[in-house]
Each structure stands twice: as C-alpha cells, then as structure tokens.
C-alpha cells in the first residue's frame, strides 16, 4: 500500500514538473499575444504573434489534411535517413581513426572544415551538387551529425578501460569477441550521448535545408509558404510539428539504445 502511494506521489511529481513550466510558458505566450494584438492592430495581432489557442486550432485543421501527414512523413524519413547515414559514417570514421593513426592525420582536417562551415553554405553547395532537392536535407543532416558522432565514439574508444582489454587478451577473446563484449558496451554511452546531441542538429539543419531548397513534400516547404503568405499561425503550427517529431524521434532512439545496451550496469 505504502509502495503504491509512494509510486503515485512520484508519478504525480514527475507530471507536475512537466505540466507546470509548460502551463507557465503557454500563459506567457497567451499574454504576449493579447498585448501584441492590443498595441499593434486589434484583430490583426496574430500576423505577428498568434495566440496558442489559434495555433492549436490551425494544427488540428492541418492534421485533417492528407498533405500534412505526407509532408511530415517524408521530412521525418529524409532527416532520420540523413541522421542514420551521418551516425554510421561518424562511427566508421571513429573506428578507422582509432585503428590507424594515419587516418586521423588524413581525415582530421576534413572534420574541422565540416565543423567550421556554416550550415547555410553547406545547403547552398549541396543544392548545386545534389541530383534532386529531396536529397539536400538528408545530406546536410548527415554532415551535421557526422563530426558529433565521430568525436563522441572516438572518445569512447579512447577511454575503453585498458585493464579490460588486457583481460580480454589474457582470456583469449578473439577480435570479434573483444569488440562485442568490451568495446561496444564501453562505447555505447558515448554513442548515445552523441546521437542525442546530433539528432537536434539534424532536425535544425534538415528543416533549414528544406526551407531553402523547397522539395515538393516537406515541412520546411510548408513552413516557407506559410511565411510568404503571412499565415503566421501555420508557421507556428509547423514549428510545433518539428518540435514534436524531434522529441518523438529522440524518445524512440533513446528507447532503442537502451534496448541495445540492456544488461549494462543494472
């Protein structure tokens, strides 16, 4: 009975920790929208700052259209594809540089350049080179993810406990077993942390690329069109969709990584 009450209290506490700040900021937004409407032009304030209720109405309306779901699904697939590609390439590069010192020497400057080049430059350059506009957000997302995952996985490999590696040699683990039983579990937390950071970057860069290169089905395209037609509530609604999809992907990825690392330090 006591356990159940404690559990209920803890759950309620967790919910309140999310709901109270959310309610506070929605309240601030609502007040700001009322104020803008008063000082700007009564009845036209939504063009600058729509109220949360109006954005919610627009979101519900948009969700009734099949084009909404198509744009959201294609953007999600495109950006997640770019993220997966960047994560795979970053991991491969980290393994290569850990195994061969010359690879670090050769690839290191390329990563520094990728880190330093502004996202807008990448988008414009990839737009010139890519076979279709649909590829641009995926490639730009991959380029944002690659150095983050590379850095994290490389650090994880470097910080794998040398005593465990010596034990693996002493107990005659082969390369595959050492990789599976020592390296992968040691590097997984670094990989997960890198992915969590990189996922946000992938969304930001991917949607920015969609806004600039305007593929037919894309959240970024809808966002841009809403902006040029002064449908400000739609701009907010599409931004909310980006945030929701980003959170959804983060939760799904977190769950997948936890499943992968099941058994690690209970």
């Amino acid at each position: 009975m006591r356990t159940s009450t404690t559990f209920r209290n803890q759950t309620a506490g967790k919910i309140l920790r999310v709901v109270i700040p959310l309610a506070f900021w929605l309240g601030v937004w609502q007040l700001a929208a009322v104020w803008v409407d008063t000082v700007y032009q009564p009845g036209r304030g939504y063009l600058l700052l729509p109220a949360p209720t109006l954005v919610a109405q627009r979101l519900v309306t948009l969700m009734g259209e099949s084009a909404f779901w198509q744009a959201a699904a294609v953007s999600l697939g495109r950006i997640f594809g770019g993220f997966a590609l960047g994560a795979a390439a970053g991991t491969a590069a980290a393994v290569l540089t850990a195994a061969c010192p010359w690879a670090e020497w050769l690839l290191g400057p390329a990563v520094k350049v990728i880190r330093a080049v502004p996202v807008a430059s990448f988008i414009v350059l990839v737009l010139l080179w890519a076979p279709s506009t649909g590829w641009v957000p995926a490639i730009v997302s991959a380029l944002m993810v690659l150095p983050v995952v590379w850095g994290n996985v490389g650090r994880g490999i470097g910080e794998t406990d040398p005593l465990l590696l010596e034990a693996a040699r002493a107990y005659r683990f082969g390369r595959g077993k050492t990789l599976r039983l020592v390296y992968v579990p040691s590097v997984l937390p670094y990989f997960a942390s890198g992915c969590a950071t990189a996922l946000g970057l992938a969304w930001k860069a991917g949607v920015a690329a969609e806004v600039l290169c305007q593929p037919r089905l894309a959240i970024g395209t809808r966002l841009y069109r809403a902006k040029i037609t002064l449908e400000t509530p739609d701009v907010f609604a599409w931004t909310a969709v980006v945030i929701a999809l980003s959170l959804l992907l983060e939760v799904a990825l977190g769950a997948a990584l936890r499943r992968l690392g099941r058994g690690a330090k209970p």
Binding site: L164, E166, A167, A170, Y171, F173, L181, G263, K265
Partner: protein, 193 residues
C-alpha cells in the same frame, strides 16, 4: 620446470626485477609471499607473458592463465556469462561446475555490481580457472574471501591437477600451499627464510 633466468624489468627509473632468476616445480601449489610492492605481481605478469622483460629467459607450460590482482569483471555481463565467455562453444555447459567450485551457485543472473567484494573475487577466480591452460598464475586470489572458504576453494583448485603459482600475504592460506617462496624487494629477490 617453471623458471625465469636473469630477467630485468624496469618501470621508468624504478628497477623491479634485476637479473632475477627463480625455478619452481611444475606440480602442486606454489606460493610467492612477500611485502606489498616487492615485485610479485610483476613476476606473475612476466610468467603470463603480459610483461616484457629485458634479456633473460622465461620457461612456462603452454598457455598459462593469469588471475589479475584486480577483478576486471565486465559490468554488463552476468556471473554466468563471465564463465561462458571464456569457454569454447562446445564446453559452455560446464559453467555450473566452475561456479560451484567458486561457491557462486544461485548468483548466475547477478551482475558484478550486485556482488560483494569477496563474491566478485571468486567470480574473477572462476573465470580464470574456466579459461584453462597449462599453468594458473593467481595474483592474490583470495583477497576479501574468508579463510575457511578460501581453504575449501584452494583444495578444489589443487584437485584440478594443473600447477598453480599464487601470490598471497595470508598466513592461513600459505599454510595450505605445497611450498612457499619468501620474497623481498624491490628489486625482487629471495628473502631469508
């Protein structure tokens, strides 16, 4: 014969083994005793082939297996998995035998973080023994294990019929060994009996 002849090991400026020689019979349980830091661990690592030495010669039976001074357990593997990981696929069914030897029955599904210090040490020992080989080199095998249990386990280890060289400070354990080599150092040398 297990032997080292004229081996030298230095860590920076510190000479741990200086043209050190020792010969041990290839039967039973031999204990190396001596104060902490005298070089026992380094000698065991040289015998295991993990520590390169300058000059000299090392002669040991094929495939020696070492139990490290630290447990070096994998936090993400269960007790049972630690044993099956070192056994060939065809012999994985032997895991319960090694866990029984180390008195770890009932802990198969536990993770190292859930074990006491003594249990962790016994798991590390069981893993090293399960790995097999022609010589067991056990560095402080019963640190944190109570004397009665350590004695029982040592008898089971002796019954395996594989020569054992272990290092220990514990008088009760040394009394159970077939021979005790008193050492001093560094640099490592035979101590006065």
């Amino acid at each position: 014969m297990i032997s080292v002849q004229n081996i030298t090991v230095c860590f920076g400026e510190k000479v741990v083994l200086n043209r050190f020689s020792l010969a041990l019979p290839e039967t039973g349980v031999t204990a190396l005793s001596g104060p902490s830091g005298c070089g026992k661990t380094t000698l065991l690592r040289v015998l295991a082939g993990l520590q390169p030495s300058r000059g000299g010669a090392v002669s040991v039976p094929e495939r020696p297996t070492i139990l490290f001074q630290e447990n070096r357990l994998l936090p993400w593997r269960t007790v049972e998995q630690h044993i099956t990981d070192v056994l060939p696929r065809a012999r994985r069914g032997e895991a319960p035998r090694w866990l029984e030897l180390a008195e770890l029955e009932g802990e198969e599904k536990a993770y190292p973080g859930q074990l006491s210090g003594g249990m962790g040490r016994r798991l590390a020992l069981a893993r090293a023994l399960a790995c097999g080989g022609g010589l067991y080199l056990l560095d402080e095998p019963f640190a944190g294990v109570d004397a009665g249990r350590a004695g029982r386990i040592l008898e089971r280890v002796r019954a395996l019929g594989v020569p054992v060289v272990l290092s220990s400070h514990e008088a009760e354990l040394l009394a159970l060994c077939d021979r005790v080599i008193p050492l001093a150092g560094p640099p490592l040398c035979l101590a006065e009996a």
